[in-house]
Amino acid sequence: MTDPRLLLLSPQDNILVAREPIPAGETILVEDSHVTLAARLDRGHKIARDAIGIGEKIFKYGAPIGSATQPIAAGESVHIHNIKSDYTATHVIAKPATEANL
């Protein structure tokens, strides 16, 4: 079983997408395992469905969307800190703490 707030978009996927925000510290079910979220999971953000090794492809919609740059445990957030594009690097800007994070 998996928490109904998490969407599995394709059976081949190794990530799940949050359909609504889930607060930090909450313990949720991911593929029958209990996982406590280290940080808030925002709407539309991803967590690992299974353990993912360095260099392994990330699958969403059944298609590869990049590769892991470090080992990712099941239930851990999957984003720009631990995956990278296989085409062009992702560009972000550092935000001041005062800028709202919606």
Partner: protein, 399 residues
């Protein structure tokens, strides 16, 4: 709601869903004078468009020709400084041959800023008086050309808004309409599945090649078509953004590839290849979402479906923009800017098919004259910059 659509008949057989007076500057030096003319006619459908460059560019010349003869355009005022490279004579000739009133003011010959502004304002008022009584004729769904873009995307765009537009596109294509999706830089990683939908194997190869061209172009420039806000919204890579963007195309067969300014020859689903040909020059292929909307309009789009997750607010000159909001939080925050609340899908309050049907209905009522949110707010964004294209190969438009 089923409103009878009526269009403004044009000499080339196409029909417009609006009857706009375009005021077009042909170099940045004529921008202010043009803006003053448009500002005096806020109550009418008078839209500012133009090209800022002083050096000649075949793409910009063709774009202006296509935009000034778009079915939504009823009359055109051209503003020249007088010494720029843009070929105003050829443009005026093409507009005149399209059966539209056209007038050129040259600031250096017409007495400078103030006198040109006054002359332009008077001409625009004359045209508005004539256009007010312009006849309309019945218009069918199959006569519509509908474009789609996404901008300010986030992790919800590919779950709700983009696939809902894909459903609306499927309905439109099966009704015989023409649909155009674009931005090959945001289809990176989708080339194989897209090629499998081509109506001929040769077109499939062209689809693959268009994405490979985009990937190489962006790699040279050092940035993908990916903004920091995309990452804030949960998207991690260009491939992830692409897979979401690709869903806008729906599931119809792909009938061809067009370049900006080429009007698709018949109904069906088309990819617009917006990435320039040849060596990398003039910078990023599309410096903002508006550049893509303008290119869709140049290829005949009567209106554009714009999917946003983070919350874009843009509209467009010439053709209405329908804003489909993918994220329910953004919709609540920015409801005044959004036409469709596709985020309901995430909350279990609507299905993809229901929102797709809502978009299809809305397209028909906007074509029948209903204003979109961005139109009512006065959004008339426009941008046109330098690019260069080679003609598309014969495999791009199979007969």
């Amino acid at each position: 709601m089923s409103t009878a659509m009526r269009g403004y008949p044009r000499a080339d057989g196409r029909k417009g869903i609006r009857n706009v007076v375009a005021v077009a500057y042909l170099v940045e030096c004529a921008h202010h004078v043009s803006r003053e003319i448009v500002a005096s006619a806020r109550d009418g459908d008078v839209h500012l468009i133009g090209f800022p460059g002083c050096y000649p560019n075949a793409y910009a010349q063709q774009m202006m020709e296509k935009l000034c003869t778009h079915p939504n355009i009823g009359a055109v005022l051209l503003l020249s400084l007088g010494c720029e490279s843009f070929n105003k004579f050829s443009l005026a000739d093409i507009v005149e041959k399209s059966g539209r009133p056209v007038h050129t003011l040259t600031i250096q010959n017409d007495g400078g800023s103030l006198k040109t502004i006054k002359a332009g304002q008077a001409w625009v008022q004359e045209q508005l008086a004539v256009l007010r009584d312009a006849p309309t004729v019945p218009m069918a769904v199959e006569e519509l050309i509908i474009g789609t873009v996404c901008g300010g995307s986030d992790g919800t765009s590919g779950l709700t808004g983009n696939p809902a537009v894909g459903r609306a596109f499927d309905t439109l294509v099966s009704a015989g309409a023409t649909c155009v999706f674009e931005e090959t830089g945001e289809l990176i990683g989708c080339e194989e599945i897209m090629a499998s939908r081509a109506i001929t194997p040769e077109l499939g190869n062209e689809l693959r090649a268009s994405v490979a061209k985009a990937a190489a172009y962006y790699a040279t420039l050092g940035y993908g078509s990916f903004a920091p806000g995309n990452a804030d919204g949960g998207l991690s890579t260009i491939e992830e953004k692409s897979m979401g963007a690709y869903a806008k195309s729906g599931s119809s067969p792909i009938s061809g590839i067009v370049k900006p300014g080429t009007v698709p020859p018949r109904g069906g689903l088309y990819l617009m290849d917006v990435v320039p040909d040849g060596e990398v020059r003039y910078g990023f292929p599309n410096i903002s979402d508006t550049a893509e909307i303008v290119e869709l309009i140049a290829s005949g789009s009567h209106m554009t479906l714009f999917v946003t997750g983070r919350g874009s607010v843009v509209g467009s000159a010439i053709a209405p923009v329908i804003k489909v909001c993918a994220n329910p939080d953004t919709y609540r925050r920015m409801e005044d800017d959004m036409d469709v609340d596709a985020g309901r899908i995430l909350e279990g309050a609507a299905s993809l098919d229901e929102v797709g049907a809502e978009i299809f209905e809305l397209i028909q009522s906007v074509a029948a004259g209903a204003q979109t949110k961005s139109e009512a707010l006065g959004h008339r964004e426009f941008i046109l910059t330098y690019k260069s294209f080679e003609p598309a190969g014969p495999a791009c438009l199979p007969s």
